[in-house]
């Protein structure tokens, strides 16, 4: 589809065919079609000869099925059935499993007994299982792992396409390592890190001990924490922080390395949006933020756009409305109805294009690709192929 306004159309195939392209990250607010876009780009790259892995976050059941991820251990990449490998490419897909990823980090970092102990901590379950926060950290970790595997040549893929979690804000994903870093380097952790008792922090902490530790630092922080959170929770959190310290330390190093790699050539962010006010506003912030952080924006993908049928596109909204009036008066109800519908669609398409133009402002460095709204959801490889063809303007 053609790009609205002055923005250059995204040369999707040139990017996918370039062997230097190694990582694509699809980001955007919730519900704009990130997962579909990631999977569609992955299918197209694979069918054009790349060896690809796509990491999806929370795909719909039917899309997961189409990607061969309906059941079993879906956290490990598996070959996707139904992809044309004639050009020498291949496609693997996996679902992000934050809990399993964190468990694996814990198992790697700690001796078995301590790992088991940590995983039994009630707060661990809440942190690992919670949908917000942990997912961003673990998505970054998985991206790092998949890239590492690709670079080592051990894995059957060399291009990594990732979908990002439906976070509170699309920026959470890129912010995750720094935020965790701030926390790990913070004084709270230093404070909580102190062993509380000889029994590895699992036993009750005498209030006096907690009080003594903190009073020297900032006048009863622990006492306040204790008051606010309750003593039992503070103790669980303390035990958790001590346990996760080692785990997150290693994670943090990798996450920063991955972050840095994302700014290097070969990586690109694909900002996905829908042609609606909320989503476009979010995309604007995301584009500005990527630019500020020196992260490369490859393209803006506008999903669910109103696209006029070829042939009808030459007819403007006003002219259609005028013609409709005349034809209705002449008794041509069918033609008048079609023209009224066209006027509505043309108005919407123009408003969407104007909104995308406003979103980009004077930026001429962001290529745009548009995918038309579809009557149903995309839930098979053929559907993904069509979306990708739309994006590629093919």
């Amino acid at each position: 589809m053609s790009a609205p306004g002055r923005a250059p159309a995204w040369a999707v195939d040139a990017l996918l065919d370039d062997p230097a392209t190694r990582t694509l990250i699809c980001c955007g607010s919730g519900g704009v079609g990130k997962t579909t876009t990631a999977a569609a780009l992955a299918v197209r790259a694979a069918e054009r000869g790349r060896r690809v892995v796509v990491l999806t976050v929370d795909p719909s059941r039917r899309l997961a099925q189409a990607l061969g991820l309906a059941d079993g251990a879906t956290a490990e990449p598996r070959p996707v059935p139904g992809v044309d490998t004639g050009a020498g490419g291949s496609l693997h897909a996996a679902v992000l499993d934050a809990r399993a990823t964190l468990d694996a980090l814990v198992d790697d970092a700690l001796p078995p007994e301590r790992a088991a102990q940590l995983k039994r901590n009630p707060v661990y379950g809440s942190v690992a299982g919670s949908f917000s926060g942990t997912q961003e950290y673990m998505a970054m970790e998985r991206l790092g792992q998949l890239r590492e595997a690709a670079l080592s040549g051990r894995a059957p893929w060399e291009l990594v396409v990732v979908d990002t979690p439906p976070s509170r804000s699309a920026l959470d994903f890129i912010d995750a390592p720094a935020r965790l870093g701030r926390f790990l380097d913070g004084r709270l952790v230093t404070l909580l890190r102190r062993p509380t008792t000889a029994r590895a922090g699992l036993a009750a902490v005498p209030a006096a001990v907690a009080g003594r530790v903190t009073s020297s630092i900032s006048g009863g922080v622990a006492a306040v924490m204790d008051k606010v959170l309750g003593g039992a929770l503070v103790r669980d959190v303390q035990a958790l922080v001590q346990g996760l310290d080692v785990v997150f330390g290693g994670f943090q190093q990798r996450a920063l390395a991955t972050s840095a790699a994302l700014a290097a050539p070969g990586s690109g962010f694909v900002v996905v949006t829908a042609a609606e006010a909320d989503a476009l506003a979010e995309a604007r912030f995301l584009l500005a933020r990527l630019a500020r952080d020196g992260l490369p924006t490859t393209a803006l993908v506008v999903n669910r756009a109103t696209v006029l049928a070829p042939g009808a596109a030459r007819l403007g909204a006003e002219e259609a409305a005028r013609l409709a009036g005349g034809l209705a008066a002449a008794g041509h109800e069918r033609a008048a109805g079609l023209l009224r519908l066209h006027a509505e669609l043309a108005l919407t398409a123009a408003a969407e294009a104007a909104a995308v133009g406003r979103l980009l402002g004077d930026r001429d460095d962001v290529a745009v690709a548009t995918a038309a709204a579809r009557p149903g959801d995309v839930h098979d490889v053929a559907g993904l192929r069509e979306v990708a063809a739309d994006l590629a303007g093919a």
Partner: protein
């Protein structure tokens, strides 16, 4: 004086509901619907607090005002003294306010900030963040005009809430003081996280084992499960949003949370004469009509083909919408329908949506 005599008593369009939680799949326009609902309630003379918890400033963008500060800010006026006050609830200030309100610990808050505990609570321990956000909404719901607090139920209760009774809160047992807000509308996280967001009180109560946060979490849970609360589900009439709405309805019902409206958003309208899926053969007739209206022959045929194709696509979309509407109706809750505004949604369009929603409130 009996409690209900002093309570503001306009006819209640939402059946005694004071806390409206608006959720939906990402991308369905729940912020738009939450804002339209707040405007609709204010249009009936209510004082409405509209809370945003995701830090996205969606409300400010829709209402075309500056980004909202983390304090209550009037953003719109309705008829008959109604108004909408908006609040961007933000974990950092929620925590500080919480400390100040309950423990008179404003300075301790600063100390927590210094050691990074605020970062911990707001970023690394997401469960705690959620309870702070919900807690702040709860506090606003149960606040009376004189600054004292009740349980937040449908009527200002005579007794201060036992567990909400913070040390030194000094709430008079007089009761009968009207609520500071007649209604609170919460633009909540999307359906994928709504259960955790609202139910987190239970999880935390279990975790915190009797700490003060657990105490507050229990009060929040009581309000959420009371008839004073309604969780409204926003959906599009499309496969995935409907599927997710059905799942969310089941999840919320299992958790004992009261469902309110189901809102079908951005519904495409019928265009008389346009949508006929069996009309592929009538392109010639349409072309003739167009040619008669002054389009030249070859162009008329091409345009007609395009128009007919658009009409067929709309017919398919409308059939899908009808099917999906039936599924939503099957949830046993009233389904409010909001039309897709042609073009982009502007302020006038938002007020028009508010009117449409207002007409459909039970």
């Amino acid at each position: 004086m009996p409690a209900d005599a002093a309570a503001p008593a306009p006819t209640d369009p939402a059946g005694g509901v004071r806390l409206h939680v608006v959720t939906g799949k990402g991308g369905t326009g729940k912020t738009t619907v939450a804002t339209a609902l707040a405007l609709a309630l204010a249009g009936e003379g209510r004082r409405v607090l509209l809370c945003e918890v995701e830090g996205r400033q969606g409300v400010a963008r829709l209402l075309e005002v500056d980004d909202l500060p983390p304090r209550e800010t009037e953003v719109a006026e309705g008829a008959g003294g109604g108004r909408v006050v908006a609040l961007a609830v933000e974990p950092r200030s929620a925590l500080l306010l919480y400390l100040d309100t309950f423990y008179r610990q404003g300075r301790a808050g600063a100390a927590l900030e210094k050691v990074g505990a605020v970062d911990f609570i707001t970023a690394v321990a997401p469960g705690l963040r959620d309870i702070l956000l919900v807690g702040m909404v709860y506090e606003a719901t149960r606040r009376r005009v004189d600054g004292t607090r009740g349980s937040g139920g449908t009527e200002p209760d005579a007794q201060p809430d036992a567990d909400g009774g913070a040390p030194g809160s000094g709430a008079p047992a007089s009761g009968a003081v009207p609520w500071a807000y007649d209604a609170v509308v919460l633009d909540a996280p999307p359906t994928g996280r709504i259960g955790a967001f609202l139910g987190i009180g239970d999880e935390l109560a279990a975790l915190a084992g009797g700490g003060p946060i657990a105490g507050q979490a229990a009060s929040v849970a009581r309000l959420l499960r009371s008839p004073a609360t309604a969780v409204h589900l926003v959906s599009l009439l499309e496969d995935l949003p409907v599927q997710e709405t059905v799942e969310a309805a089941a999840e919320l019902a299992d958790a004992g949370l009261p469902l309110g409206l189901v809102v079908a958003n951005r519904v495409l309208g019928e265009v008389p004469g346009a949508a006929a899926d069996d009309a592929a053969e009538d392109a010639a007739g349409v072309a003739a009509a167009l040619a008669g209206a002054g389009l030249d022959g070859a162009a008329a045929r091409e345009v007609a083909d395009g128009l007919v194709r658009q009409g067929a696509a709309r017919a398919v979309a409308l059939a899908g919408q009808r099917r999906h509407h039936e599924v939503l109706a099957g949830l046993g809750r009233p389904v409010a329908v909001l039309p897709q505004a042609p073009g982009a949604l502007d302020l006038a369009g938002l007020y028009a949506l508010a009117d449409r929603l207002g007409e459909q409130l039970p």
